[in-house]
Subunit: 288 residues, 3 copies
């Protein structure tokens, strides 16, 4: 993509606005990485609030620019709570990001994700296996023939590469915008070369650093920061800006880290330090 | 305050005793920052134990010098549990610190905080908005006319400055000492210049570093370390010593940090390294 | 132990296999240190997944090499869930590691641990007080006369030294291998000089760094990494390799740390960097 493409201008503006407005994006997220989600949102320039009760979430929704739901570690009370929350977001036309962590594993998770089909999010951010599994749970069929492989996640790590989820991501984005409250949507597939699509255009982001797979919560915190960006911009710009912000910060962290401990520290520092122009000028491959 | 004020001697002694006795202060706290609460207590010189079950809390109370309750992330089971625990602390005349995170948001949180009115803590530590909201929930009216503004928290961040909560903090401290089990109390209001009061005297602590607002859990972990100090000293000394310890450590961290990641690392190092004399000799403004 | 003892060869192979195979070890663990458990497993070379629902755990068991249960912070739903999970592990002859955090405190925890007596784990990793308390809960009596002292844990820290739990550890390992599904077992007692036994041989590991007691989760994350090693090796080798890997990494971290913050960062870096040969060549004292 050329350096003067209008998409880049929207990304730059989004980065600047996050730093100027410190937008609040609330999260209902897993216990493993909840701290990193909040710290990444703060380091990216936003503000954070976390809750697990519908009454809390609804109150905080009123003062949040966007919300984030991550189904990583579930408790019995979540099944009713999350259905109630998704319905409430729908009725208030709230913007929200879903991370369907480990989609396809566990009957409770499957029921929760199934319930979201009726009240879908604005953005789904996930790895390739989760995107493919979510399409299965929501009965989203591919217009183009796929290779017929049945994909099953290997725990919380993807067993599929980003390429293999391209068609699923496109169809998923179309499903989201058709069925969600705002009729705008994006899907972000994280992996070696992230993919972002709004259902029409497909972008690939080749940056980043492999050490991101050696700290827990790289994907979860990207979901949270995507919600931070969604509070100030359209879904496609939010998904692109958050992914690029993460890729730039992870590249910078990779130049100084001695291992995963110092990598996480340097990554949070880099999220904070990195300039909007650097994020907006990253390599973006416009696929069509 | 002069360098030979007796308050400073009590602060110095408290800091030294925490390092010598490694006092246990247990916590019932939120999932976002529970790790930082424990690590800050350890780095300050204390010992940590976390639990969410009344039977656990009551057993651990017997071996704890003080306890800490933080209502940040609530689960359905907490409403009965926390009422039971507060009542039990009251009956055993246990010392405890309350952080009323996001007071005013969510009906469950409001009911939990309301229930504490009957069995109030020894110390409340919060931001200005939460102090004002808690006074509202507990029907504490100001003796002096306030400006009549209705304050509402903006998520978990304060929308009010510390000054505006001065009268609320004084009245809240008086309420605590009148109604709690030990009839001694303090209130600490965190912000740009922290305020600590026992209901009679008011102290302002101008130190600290703004980067503390860019890591999640600065306030939560201060509540935990306040409980650590409460295990070895009176409430006013505990609130002052913990806040000064945090301010000194955050100032020291600010001199080396490159961003919020390295700031948190350096902050924990500084909590550990900083000398009792340095903490006790910090600037303290005695308001009256 | 001589440098060409066959035990060392098994340890070296285990370390190399963890790095080559990135084995998944799932965890049901406490909220305080869940992030460090996952990050330590990743830094040691493994893969992590965390859950609290039986349906999740059973699905993930099918793709995990081993599992880890840590009873640190309990919720009401855990009592039934953990009994169900332990029974399911037994029926599937799954390998799993138990960390009986704070054994002896809280009636719910005691009931949960008691239920495990029927379906015991492959490995127990704990501090001395917890090992002694667990023997009491499981009615494991010592063949050799002990000194008759009644031990009670001081919160989550051990009040007993490793020596005093030697006989308990041996009897506990024998109990495990007699009653668990695979009839192989090990017990690891963490402390100043870690002890590892399979019920016959007893090894002491004199390495490590005292700063490990000033970060929360050193023991919890060792339990998680023990499960990572159990996914590729026999219980005795797994317990030895994980403890030695931790000791080597903590020694290396101790040479650069300025306090507990930088210690944890350096510790994770060292877990990642340290070579299999260095781990396998550590001092191991073969007691008999």
């Amino acid at each position: 993509m050329s350096l003067n493409d209008p998409v880049r201008e929207r990304i730059r503006t989004a980065c600047e606005e996050v730093r100027q407005k410190t937008p609040l994006a609330q999260s209902f997220t897993n216990f493993v990485t909840i701290n990193l989600v909040a710290n990444a949102q703060l380091a990216a320039g936003g503000s954070a609030a976390m809750s697990f009760l519908p009454d809390d979430i609804k109150d905080i929704e009123a003062i949040s620019g966007a919300s984030y739901i991550n189904v990583g570690t579930l408790l019995p009370s979540y099944e009713d709570a999350l259905k109630d929350i998704a319905k409430s977001f729908f009725e208030r036309t709230s913007l929200w990001v879903l991370d369907p962590v480990a989609a396809g594993l566990g009957s409770t998770r499957t029921r929760i994700l199934k319930a979201f089909a009726e009240y879908p999010p604005t953005i789904v951010r996930a790895n390739a296996s989760e995107i493919i599994a979510l399409c299965g749970i929501w009965d989203i069929s591919l217009k183009t023939d796929s290779n017929g492989k049945v994909n099953r996640p290997a725990g919380v790590e993807s067993v599929d590469d980003v390429d293999s989820a391209t068609l699923h991501a496109i169809e998923l984005a179309r499903y989201l915008r058709e069925h969600n409250a705002t009729h705008t949507a994006a899907v972000a597939v994280s992996g070696e070369r992230d993919l972002v699509t709004d259902g029409d255009r497909v972008y690939r982001l080749p940056g980043g650093n492999a050490m991101m797979t050696k700290i827990t919560g790289a994907g979860c915190s990207l979901g949270g920061v995507t919600a931070t960006y969604l509070a100030v911009s359209d879904p496609l710009t939010a998904a692109l800006a958050a992914s690029l912000h993460f890729n730039c910060a992870s590249e910078q962290a990779g130049t100084v880290a001695q291992g995963p401990g110092s990598f996480q520290t340097a990554f949070l520092d880099a999220l904070w330090q990195i300039q909007a122009a650097e994020i907006a000028d990253s390599t973006i491959i416009d696929m069509h």
